[in-house]
Structure formats: structure tokens, C-alpha cells
Subunit: 196 residues, 2 copies
Amino acid sequence: MARAGLTAERVTRAAADLADAVGFENITVSALARSFGVKDASLYSHVRNLRELRERVALLAAEELADRIAAAVAGRAGKDAMVAFANAYRDYALAHPGRYTATQAVQPSPAVLAGSTVHVRTVELTHAMLRAYDLVEPDLTDAGRLLRSAFHGYVTLEANGGFRHPRDVRRSWERSLDGLHIALANWPAKDPRPLH
Amino acid sequence: MARAGLTAERVTRAAADLADAVGFENITVSALARSFGVKDASLYSHVRNLRELRERVALLAAEELADRIAAAVAGRAGKDAMVAFANAYRDYALAHPGRYTATQAVQPSPAVLAGSTVHVRTVELTHAMLRAYDLVEPDLTDAGRLLRSAFHGYVTLEANGGFRHPRDVRRSWERSLDGLHIALANWPAKDPRPLH
DNA sequence: CTACAGTTCCTAGATATATTAGGCAAACAC
DNA sequence: GTGTTTGCCTAATATATCTAGGAACTGTAG
């Protein structure tokens, strides 16, 4: 019988596509094997187990997402950069729900973390996006965490049908970005006085 | 043989505890049956299937969370209410990771949605918290979505080890809430002029 | 107290999944 | 062409969900 020509790469990519189609938590070795027309056991020559497969998908997705963001923020600064970052993030998450879920659902093993630069890259991109807001540590980290939280939370809730109000979700998103910009541009001093 | 005294209630509560212990996605009918000392099949007299079990856990958790939030915001207004809401939210999510995940991972069936008031309650609580900021629709919905996103995103990332920088996570949280307050207190007009 | 009715829990079994061990044969190296 | 590597196979085990049908427990009415 002719060989299917599997490699760890192709298996990972197929798993990512499957995740986008049926949801990250529903990818199975069996379904993947079926899609290649091979037996389940055959995949174990290329991938240690399901856990590693998911980790690979997560890493692939994280790279792709970072690439999109890097392309989006290049040559932009201030609110422009922030909005570009945010939209690249959201567009990717909505276009690739399974891949995006992978980036969040899998916490990379220390080995993987050490062997890849994606996470460092992502932090650098975040800081680059924030540069024009003139924040210094620890405000930079705090603001970065707020932004990541807001982006992640928004796309997650949106993708899971968490926004049931008829208000257009895209407009809410734009307004939320306006709100975040306000927060960044007026980032509170360390000893905040009540504002009202 | 003496009966175990199962009910849908007790099974659901046990499933919620199990979820907090091992993670929502790792709850199984088998493990649950073991914890009661009964056979797997016995649980199917009380719960239709795994899907329904998860839905029940999600509903239980949503109620609990709404209760905590309601207690926290009672008698508070403005930033005070917002911070109390946020902290109740985060405390619950961190103390009950499995239950919290359930509230997000399960999108309730229309039947469940109709039979419960939790979701309406949650929206009402959110609007009540925002009352002092003097927002009108659609800004109210937009701001509410931003807050929910930020809260959800933050606790999810925190619980999944997404914040690896040494900066104290709790302080970042407090500063993020300060930032959100700034955004709410200065919610952008419909036709925002650039601020820099 | 007894018989009936409903419910709880059981045994047995079908199906799906992850994963390992060991084998045959295709692809490649020389 | 021979030999080695490697890709995919069969076979088997363990665990999961879920259904069908039976037995035993519990409460209720005579």
C-alpha cells in the first residue's frame, strides 16, 4: 500500500485545520488518522501523543498570530498601533477559532517554552505597541496585561456567543478600543486621587 | 446493597467539586460514579448524559457567581461598585476554577436559557454597577462588554499561567481596574477627536 | 403486614478513543 | 542489489460514554 507521506508538520497542520472545523477540544487522533486515510497507530510515529499534538498546534497558532500582529503594527504608533494590534488579534481568533483556542488552552511545557521565541516575541510586540504611550515599568506590564486580557476576553466571549444583546458586536469592539486608548493615554499615577 | 442516595442535585454538586479539583474538561461520568461508589450506568438515572451534566454545573456556577457579585455590589456605587464587582468575579474564578470554566465553556441551550434567570440577572448587575458612570445605550452595552471581557480575560490568563513576568499579578489587577475606571469615567464621545 | 408501584442501582454489552508492542514492506543509502 | 531505516500495519489493552433490561430497595394503600 502506498504511503501517505505523513510528517510531524503535516499532521500538525491537519490537526490545526481540524481544530478550526470542529473545535480544539474535539480533535482526536482517530479523526486525524481518518482524514489521512491511515490507522490511528500510524500517527504515533510522528507525534508522541495527543498532548504533544495539541502543544504543536498551540505553537503553530501562536507563531501565526504573532506574524499577523507583527505585520499589522509595523510602521504604526500610538492608538493606530494599538488598534491594528487589536484587530489583527481579533481577526485571527475569529477566522481560526480552533487554532486560537489552542494558544490559550495549552500551557506550554518548559521545554517547549525554552525552544521557541514566540512568547518573547509576543511580549516585545506588546511593548512596541505601547511605546508611544510613554509608560515605564511596572506600568508597562500592567497596561500590557490589561490589553491582553481585554482582547482575549472579548474574542472569547464573542466566539462563544456571550454577547446576546442586539448591539452590533463589531461596533462595541471599536468603542471598547476607544475606551482602552483613553485608559492608556491617561494611565493613572501611582497614587491615584479619586477623579469624580 | 444500601443505596447511595443520589439525586440530580448531589450529582451536580459533586461534579462541580470534581471540576474544581481536576479541571472542568476532565470531569467524567466514570470518575463521578467512582466518587459515589456506584457504577457508571447508575448516574444516567439522574442526569441525561455528560453534556447535560456539564450544563448543570455551568448553571450552578453561574448562580453562585451572580450571588457573590450581587452581595459585593450591594450598597456601592461608582468606582467602588466596579472594583467590588471585579474582585468578587476574580475571587470566585480563582477559588473555583472548574466551576468558573464551566460558566464559559458551556453555551446554554435555548431551553436552559429560557428556564433560568441567571443571565438576565448578570446583565442587570452589570448595568447596576455602571449606573454611576452615567452612560446611556449603546454606550452602556459597549462598556459592559469591555468590562466583562477584561475581567474574564484577566482571570483566565492568570489561572492558565499566562502572566509570566515577575510583576505581582494582584497589583497589576488593581492597576488595570484603575485603568478601566479611567476609561469609564471618560467614556469617549460618539465622534472621538484624537487625544494626543 | 402485605402487596403494589415507582425508582435506584446493577449487569452486560456496543462503540469510541488513546496508546503500546511488534511486524512487514517501502524508500533510501551505497 | 543488499541492508538499514522508517512508515504504516495488525493486534491488544485500558478507559470512556451510553443503552437495554433486570433486580432490589423504598414508600404507599389496602
